[in-house]
């Protein structure tokens, strides 16, 4: 789906846990998430920690949308 949307000219970033899968299926911009059932917020942590993580990674994704890349890129997250 990412490829179809990008083919149409929309900059797109994929947030996913299994980064190697995302790479293989061909997304160009990838931001890792922490797990499958809760990509952006571990329910075993406090609400504050979950928010911090989610806010940070969505920020990385937004910056990725505005970043020029020459090849498939996995963007780094701090936490």
């Amino acid at each position: 789906m990412v490829k179809e949307i990008e083919k149409a000219g929309f900059p797109i970033v994929q947030m996913a846990n299994l980064v190697p899968v995302a790479k293989t299926v061909g997304a160009n911009k990838i931001v890792p998430t922490i797990s499958i059932p809760y990509p952006l917020g571990d329910p075993n942590t406090s609400k504050e920690e979950q928010w911090k993580l989610r806010y940070h990674r969505v920020g990385v994704a937004l910056d990725a949308l505005a970043t020029h890349i020459d090849e498939q890129t996995v963007f780094e997250v701090k936490f």
């Binding site: 789906m1 997304a27 920020g59």
Partner: protein, 348 residues
């Protein structure tokens, strides 16, 4: 009698479904679930142990899972290692590939698995692991297991392994030259191939060009502060009534839902219908899957211009590439109509 060990996930071990996907790795002596069928199908070996691990445990803690499992295997006598069959299950296929590769590297034994052609594990691991084409679902369990066993028997008996085409496993991208004096000379093969191509007839190229997986990188957003961002998700987040009756697996339908007045996605208003993962966390807080609350914060701060009035959703598990591509294509006119500048896709 040679010895074999099989790796399976928590579901096929009978431990549980999604809610048990975090099951820590363990090894059991003897046969569990699919190892019964594998043991019955194998002529040249017996399955002595079954390794079990939750798909999420492997997915989220790969290094630890692998380390623990390799430790279980140390000191065990085994000549061959199997994993799966994993059908179309992406996490399970990934797990099978990961553990097979690690076992092969550490113990040097042949490693064999089985996956449906659309399982992402195929392209990821086919080079290191011999993977047999498998069915979409557990209905193919017997058939898929038999294929793995038949090849395993051949390898254990030291028989000559022929080409991928002849043996039946996925083409691995491992190419070697073959001298064959029954072949026509290249000049003849070339002219014949050209005549077929000119006539529009089918021919078989001797060097299949692997399909390019990447699409051209779209121009980045020039100015985030004026950009309109939309969410697309394959995590199956829908209004609790699931008004568009999106399927929980192998989806062919998708939906778009109004979030223009919402600061966040509220539990009880939205939920997930995705059958492929434990829904508890997403039901309790849908923002962990579609992070509307975080995006609203950026909108308020001015980092982005605005958020699309709707988000777009379907379910990824079991959904074919063809259907997924179609659904994405159907979303495009709306993205254009809404003047969306960029998209964040969240997947599970």
């Amino acid at each position: 009698m040679k010895k074999a060990i099989l790796y399976i996930n928590q579901f096929f071990a009978g431990i549980g479904g999604e809610e048990k996907a975090d099951h820590a790795p363990e090894i059991r002596e003897g046969l569990v679930g699919p190892s019964l069928a594998l043991d019955a199908a194998l002529k040249n070996a017996e399955v002595t142990h079954t390794v079990i691990c939750g798909d999420n445990f492997m997915g989220s803690n790969q290094d630890e899972a692998v380390e623990r499992i390799l430790k279980f295997l140390e000191g065990k006598e085994f000549d061959i290692f199997f994993a799966g069959p994993s059908f179309q299950a992406g996490r399970y296929g990934n797990a099978c590939g990961v553990i097979c590769k690690a076992v092969k590297e550490k113990f040097g034994v042949p490693v064999i698995s089985s996956m449906h052609i659309e399982n992402p594990g195929v392209n990821m691991f086919k080079k290191e692991v011999v993977i047999f084409p498998g069915g979409r679902s557990a209905a193919a369990m017997r058939k898929d297991t038999k294929k793995m066993a038949a090849y395993g028997d051949k390898v254990l008996a030291g028989e000559k392994i022929e080409t991928a085409e002849e043996e039946g496993f996925y083409v691995r991208g491992i190419r070697h030259q073959v001298v064959d004096f029954t072949l026509e000379p290249a000049a003849v093969r070339g002219v014949k191939m050209l005549l077929k191509k000119l006539a529009g007839e089918e021919y078989v190229t001797e060097l299949p060009i692997p399909k390019s997986d990447r699409v051209e990188i779209a121009e980045p957003v020039q100015d985030l502060s004026t950009a309109k961002i939309a969410f697309v998700t394959t995590g199956g987040i829908v209004p609790v009534a699931n008004p568009d009756r999106i399927q929980s697996a192998s989806a062919t339908r998708w939906g778009m839902y109004d979030i223009s007045e919402m600061a966040r996605l509220e539990a009880g208003i939205f939920k997930t219908i995705h059958a492929g993962y434990d829904p508890a966390a997403a039901d309790a807080d849908p923002n962990v899957c579609v992070p509307l609350d975080a995006l609203r914060a950026y909108e308020t701060e001015g980092k982005i211009g605005s958020i699309d009035s709707h988000f777009y959703t379907t379910v990824g598990t079991g959904t074919t590439e063809a259907e997924a591509a179609r659904m994405a294509q159907e979303m495009l006119p709306f993205l254009r109509e809404h003047n969306v500048d960029a998209v964040i896709m969240t997947s599970t």
